[in-house]
Symmetry: C2
Subunit: 305 residues, 2 copies
């Protein structure tokens, strides 16, 4: 199976506790990593999770509250000390570029690899498009410009049935056509019917990351049927007033949103330091959406269709 999995590095909101860290997670797609948010201590959490620093190709920062990017300085320094040569591509709200330049020009030390900074447009939209995956940034409802990210795998070509190839030789150009879903008439007279020669490719999977925000019901349509949804659930519903005042979401609201979006699975996170025990948050989300789970630090969740 093609790797597509997320490792949670931090599930705490702005004030970390002694055993919960600010937001950060590593999304592994085909053994290349998207680092989503980078709260303080992210680099140490990466190390503890035995993830390879060299596989981090892209960083996505949802917004510029410190608990979502203060770990980036240390991570970049460590990349430098480990001898990184490859560019690091960072998607973030525009103001981060000046912050990074200031920190590293004035004090943080020289950085010898390229930091390829790409501002997320104010209105969001598609920010990444490779052969295998595309990413959409979705404006959220928070006290500073903030974006959710929706990762959608692309359709793969059809798979040649290996058992057929072992029986008969077929020229390469014909294989390409078969992969594209076509029937093939060969010059030697053979007719290769696509349905006999190919198998369905794996179904494209999707992952959605949404924090920090008041719950936005309308977003459910944009991510309809997502295979895994990470959504913040900073508060219990009994603290809804606080959620409204600070532009955050309750566990109950996160569950209702996952249901509306017809997600396959919900991970909740960004928990307020006021809760020592996280089980009540999970239970509350489950009253709305059964497949709700606590996003546990250090745990890797496989994204399945």
């Amino acid at each position: 199976m093609i790797p597509f999995e997320v490792t949670i590095l931090g599930n705490s909101s702005a004030i970390p506790t002694s055993d919960r860290h600010p937001t950060s997670q590593v999304l592994n797609h085909r053994n290349s990593y998207f680092l989503i948010d980078c709260g303080e201590c992210a680099q140490q959490q990466i190390r503890k999770s035995h993830l390879k620093f060299s596989r981090i190709k892209w960083v996505l920062i949802s917004h510029l509250h410190g608990d979502h990017f203060f770990g980036l300085f240390g991570l970049i320094s460590t990349f430098q000390l480990l001898g990184r040569k490859e560019s690091l591509i960072i998607y973030a709200p525009p103001a981060l570029e000046h912050i990074l330049k200031t920190v590293f020009s004035a004090g943080g030390g020289n950085i010898d690899f390229e930091i390829d900074f790409r501002s997320i447009p104010e209105e969001g939209g598609e920010i990444f498009d490779s052969d295998f995956i595309k990413i959409k940034a979705m404006p959220l409802n928070h006290s500073t410009p903030c974006y959710g990210f929706h990762f959608q795998e692309k359709n793969l070509p059809r798979k040649i049935d290996k058992s057929k190839i072992e029986m008969e030789e077929v020229p390469i150009h014909a294989l390409h056509k078969l992969k594209d879903g076509e029937d093939v008439q060969l010059e030697d007279g053979r007719f290769l019917k696509n349905s006999e020669w190919t198998l369905d490719p794996p179904k494209p999977r999707s992952y959605t990351f949404i924090t920090d925000t008041r719950c936005i019901s309308d977003l459910a349509d944009e991510i309809k049927g997502t295979d895994m949804l990470y959504h913040e659930a900073t508060f219990l519903h009994e603290d809804k007033k606080r959620a409204i005042a600070t532009l955050h979401t309750t566990a109950k609201e996160a569950g209702a949103f996952a249901k509306k979006a017809e997600a396959k699975m919900l991970l909740i996170g960004h928990f307020s330091a006021r809760y020592d025990d996280l089980k009540p948050l999970k239970k509350e989300a489950q009253t709305e959406f059964e497949e709700s789970f606590i996003a546990k630090e250090g745990k890797c969740y496989k994204i399945k269709h």
Copy 2:
């Protein structure tokens, strides 16, 4: 006994390991804290050590390599979220002021308490002088301006012998004179001999923090007889070439320096991530100076004369 003790929050050099953090320590003097350096994760280490955030009055930053100040952003954010009102006084090389302003104006969120920034003069010298303690900044030998800090308790007034006061009434102005070491002739004819009425005050203690630097032999005279010396020992002596190239100190050199300075006790720290086992570093320092110890994270060391 008047509290004077240091808690080690991080003993790692620039690249943290999964269980060692970058440089930071809390020096508690009379229940007010000096935070010395503030590497990433310092706030979480403070929490784990059950130290009170509200007691941190002063921050001293030795130099502007990221592993010595990248934790300051998160700590300041947490102060804000905890509702701090009191000024935070920061002593650091001048460039940090602009970095802090940039990070917090552009993205980190509003800070409602005063950050009272005080540049360490290039040539070092006395940077702090209260009723109880004074601090000297000492220029070190590193790749960016870097300072060691020497904390010297002041002489306290003589202590009135309580058993005498219980026997005889004495006017307050006479007590003040006694504390200052004077004999007192009272109007009622009594003569109070200082040596009979007072006891010696506790002896002033001192603490010295030195990292990152090639070992500077001449500094030994400046801190002669220090009660506790924290000195970096980034490398084993077999890696001396690396120590010279990166302007750091070996464990053997740190031990020899402690001996020359006639320190009472040496804590070594700032260990390279290349060493899983720290015991050889301790042993090596002890070949030069017996009272050498590993500065263990989470451990509190009392400073005694």
